[in-house]
């Protein structure tokens, strides 16, 4: 379609001059659509470059492209820009340009997509250059006005100094002139060892509004004349809308319209959301149930089980000859594991407000990738990209749910088109949110390993069977049918996630089996089950070899010093070499993913068949630590999310639909189950890795290994609550 291709060309690679666009040019050439209420998109103050705006009162506005959703990216990115800008941190605020503005300016702010723990690691270079370039232009402006060489000028917290003549001026005074200066060609960034703003555990910039109710989330957005919509989509995967009868609600107060949406759902538009939702329950709807109306979890499990021994599989990592290695082994060990579907369960259910006028379509929503949301608006509205935009509002959680699929945005536009010139806010009920997730994919895994007489692992076959996320969300990105992300953390090389163990004969392969549920990225993604399968099995092998799980791993990680370093750090802090307190059992795990190295030691107790996780010691080497206290918060949070899945999380299917429709049947970790978490943040300074996800990988396997140490029994199917005789304390 034309609209899509227009958008794609507008969303081309950032121009070389990316961060160097000047005020005069920008203000002359582009109109920023200031009709948007509540959100000031771009201040009319001098824009030194795309990243930095400085007002005459010395306040500094730093533009943030990647999305804040709780993980602290906004503060971290601002720290990086401010570090190079050398401004006064206490005067920094932020703003988020819209994806429409990004498209209109040749994608000057780069990629908005925020997932895969990429918020900082994939944009630190150009945002730091943006800050440095703005500083150099401000200094050049001062030097010009004083008629001195720039090399004689220095900066101290937004004050420009010419020492020889004892003259001083400020960024606020120089901003307008700076905006007209030629952007520098050669930019030398600071050595992180000299950082004074980045690298420090500064408070977040977005905390205050989150403690007094004033933070506006997408759910809270409002505008004059806005109506509210509730929706129900066919709950059976692959089903559609056949017909509906809304005659019962025709005379109910507040009801404005009842509409079909996308051939799959029915929405009621009313004055208030409660009116819409309660009326919707009385609309009689007939569904076309489609081909999956009888589907159950048992059917899916059987499909995956077949894949465990199937002949055909995509290879992810291969060394030596695993068949020969296994045949020659003194001892072989085999185990089969499984990991179920998970729901994101963001605290804020999906929602979006849309206003369609026939010639324009604007959406206000929470998204991890508002450029993709804009693409959805363009497609759904049928309008060119220049006549659409998405205003970014705070997310009540993302975790991957708001990263790729903007189904809620599409529906909001399709509803608004049936109510032109009136803003309509669509809110999914929690039940709708649970029934229409993009679930963490389901997999099973069969592991077979051979040990020699000394207990060395000489061969291992790891066969994963199950769902590919790419096949569900973007099949065009499959590589000859293969989904590379299936092998996260198991790769032979690269910067993302390398398999750390030295095993001479190795085969890791994937039999792709795709049930009809939509799969999506879920915090940690395929690293979660890959780490669980591998790290639990490594513990099983240590037991089979009669060796200590730490020593066993250390020996096999001899060629992977960074994997080994985080493992050793947690072992030391946890006191692995000393006996655990009475009744406490320990388990280890390590993994590499999203560019970072992580390890954990869990301490659990089991009393009266009740398992309690008391303490986690976790280490991460993310290369660089931009805000250490926020990394600690991410480590805490990743354990909460990972342990929630391990202990309780399971989406099951009956009659082609999800059985768990709210938090009474989809239990989540609460305060009483949260272990104490001791973090070790140990950046080695020679690479940039992620921090939002990586420690989640080691949460479940460390706890499972501790449980096995306590009971002598292995739990191989998740979650613990429904697959073992243990209760959760």
């Amino acid at each position: 379609m034309t609209n899509t291709s227009q958008l794609q060309s507008a969303l081309a690679t950032p121009s070389r001059r990316g961060f160097l666009v000047q005020t005069s040019l920008v203000m002359g050439a582009f109109s920023f659509g200031f009709h948007i209420p509540h959100v000031q998109a771009a201040a009319p103050a001098p824009e030194v470059n795309a990243w930095v705006v400085i007002k005459p009162d010395e306040s500094v506005i730093i533009r943030i492209a990647r999305q804040e959703m709780g993980q602290g990216t906004l503060t971290g990115l601002a720290q990086l820009v401010a570090e190079e800008l050398e401004c006064d941190w206490s005067k920094v605020t932020t703003e988020q340009p819209t994806p429409g503005q990004n498209a209109a300016r040749g994608r000057v702010w780069g990629n908005y997509a925020t997932g895969g723990s990429r918020g900082i690691r994939d944009s630190h270079l150009y945002v730091r250059k943006g800050g440095a370039s703005a500083r150099m232009m401000l200094v050049a402006a001062a030097a010009k006005s004083w008629n001195v060489p720039t090399s004689e000028c220095s900066v101290d917290k937004g004050v420009i100094i010419h020492k020889a003549s004892n003259r001083r001026t400020t960024y606020g005074k120089m901003a307008e002139l700076a905006a007209t200066m030629e952007p520098p060609k050669d930019i030398v960034l600071k050595d992180p060892k000299t950082w004074t703003i980045a690298g420090k555990p500064l408070p977040r910039l977005d905390t205050v509004a989150k403690v007094d109710g004033s933070q506006i989330y997408s759910m809270d957005f409002t505008m004059p004349g806005m109506l509210n919509a509730a929706i129900t989509n066919c709950p059976i995967f692959g089903g559609s809308l056949k017909s509906f009868d809304a005659s019962k609600i025709a005379n109910k107060p507040g009801i404005r319209k009842v509409v079909a949406v996308d051939g799959k759902g029915v929405a009621v538009i009313a004055d208030t959301w409660w009116q819409a939702k309660s009326a919707l329950e009385q609309v009689e709807i007939v569904w076309n149930e489609g081909p999956n109306a009888k589907l159950t979890s048992a059917d899916i499990a059987a499909t995956l089980k077949e894949g465990l021994t199937a002949k055909e599989a995509f290879v992810g990592n291969q060394a030596g000859d695993v068949k020969v290695g296994l045949a020659q082994a003194a001892k072989t060990v085999e185990a089969t594991y499984s990991f179920p579907y998970q729901h994101h369960a963001t605290m804020e259910p999906m929602n979006a407000t849309a206003l369609y006028t026939g010639s324009r379509c604007d959406v206000w929503t929470s998204s991890q990738n508002s450029e993709a949301a804009l693409e959805t608006v363009v497609e759904a509205s049928g309008l060119p990209v220049g006549q659409c935009d998405v205003t970014r509002l705070m997310l009540g959680g993302g975790f991957g749910r708001r990263a790729v699929s903007h189904d809620y945005v599409r529906q909001s536009v399709l509803i608004a088109k049936q109510m032109p010139n009136v803003p309509v806010k669509l809110i999914w009920s929690r039940e709708e949110d649970m029934l229409h997730g993009h679930y963490h994919p389901i997999t099973q895994c069969k592991l077979t390993a051979g040990l020699d007489a000394q207990g060395n692992v000489t061969a291992m076959h790891m066969r994963i069977s199950g769902q590919s996320i790419l096949s569900s969300i973007n099949p065009s990105r499959l590589q000859n049918g293969r989904d590379p992300s299936t092998f996260q953390g198991l790769n032979p090389d690269g910067n993302e996630g390398v398999f750390g163990y030295s095993i001479p004969n190795l085969l890791i392969d994937h039999a792709m089996r795709n049930p009809p549920l939509p799969a999506g990225y879920w915090r940690g993604v395929n690293n979660n089950q890959n780490a669980l399968y591998l790290e639990c099995f490594i513990d099983e092998l240590a037991v089979a070899a009669g060796q200590d799980p730490l020593a066993f791993r250390q020996k096999m990680l001899r060629n992977s010093p960074k994997h080994l370093a985080v493992l050793n750090a947690v072992a030391e802090k946890a006191g692995w070499d000393k006996p655990a307190p009475k009744g406490i059992f320990r388990g280890l795990s390590q993994h590499m993913g999203y560019g970072s190295y992580v390890a954990a030691c869990a301490e659990v107790s089991i009393v009266d068949q009740k398992v309690k996780v008391h303490r986690i010691v976790a280490a991460t080497n993310p290369g660089h630590a931009v805000n250490p206290q926020q990394i600690e918060a991410q480590i805490d949070g990743s354990f909460a999310y990972g342990l929630s899945a391990l202990l309780y999380g399971e989406i099951t299917i009956k009659d082609g639909m999800v059985e768990q429709q709210n938090f009474d049947t989809y239990e989540l970790l609460r305060m009483a189950q949260m272990p104490k978490v001791e973090s070790i943040v140990m950046p080695s300074g020679d690479f940039w890795g992620g921090v939002g996800e990586p420690t989640i990988f080691v949460a479940a396997p460390a706890v499972l290994n501790a449980i096995a140490a306590a009971t002598g029994k292995r739990i191989r199917n998740m979650p613990i609550q429904s697959n073992s005789d243990l209760k959760i304390a």
């Binding site: 509004a209 989150k210 989330y217 409660w274 804020e348 705070m394 009920s429 938090f663 609460r670 949260m674």
Partner: protein
């Protein structure tokens, strides 16, 4: 029509009697109180009614009597000043996405009013609100820090 005292101000509410208090409040513009589950599970909608923490998503307007008092997050701090818990939350950078924190703060303030120096067990029992970002350890530390701030003042 119901007459309620919301954050100290008398208000006449004309919503249907079956409307949950959560939506009554949000439709009045008090959007700090959040919708999370609608079935009293997650606690994002916690407000105080006559001083007691209540999950407002599951309490219909018809259950309240004229003159009953509702306090929401917007009025947690008295006289425009921050509550000790809010100060502690800021000092310890408790929120991540922050969506659940209004409810967490309302549950925590109800706890502190009953038990000025709560034990870990009391915190576990009172703080059953869900946080998907996993801020529980900082919430616990925040409650203890606020308790210390309040004790110092007293």
């Amino acid at each position: 029509m119901a007459q309620l005292v919301i954050n100290g101000i008398k208000q006449t509410v004309s919503a249907d009697p079956d409307t949950p208090i959560l939506w009554v409040l949000r439709d009045l513009g008090l959007t700090g109180t959040k919708y999370g589950c609608g079935v009293a599970q997650c606690g994002a909608c916690t407000v105080h009614i006559d001083g007691e923490p209540v999950r407002s998503c599951s309490l219909p307007l018809s259950a309240l009597q004229d003159g009953q008092s509702i306090i929401t997050i917007e009025a947690l701090g008295a006289g425009g000043k921050l509550h000790a818990l809010q100060k502690a939350w800021i000092e310890l950078d408790v929120p991540q996405c922050g969506y659940c924190q209004s409810g967490q703060l309302m549950a925590a303030s109800a706890l502190l009013s009953k038990s000025p120096n709560p034990t870990d067990a009391e915190i576990d029992e009172a703080m059953t609100n869900i946080c998907r970002c996993g801020t529980y350890n900082r919430i616990r530390a925040g409650i203890k820090h606020a308790a210390a701030l309040l004790t110092k003042k007293a």
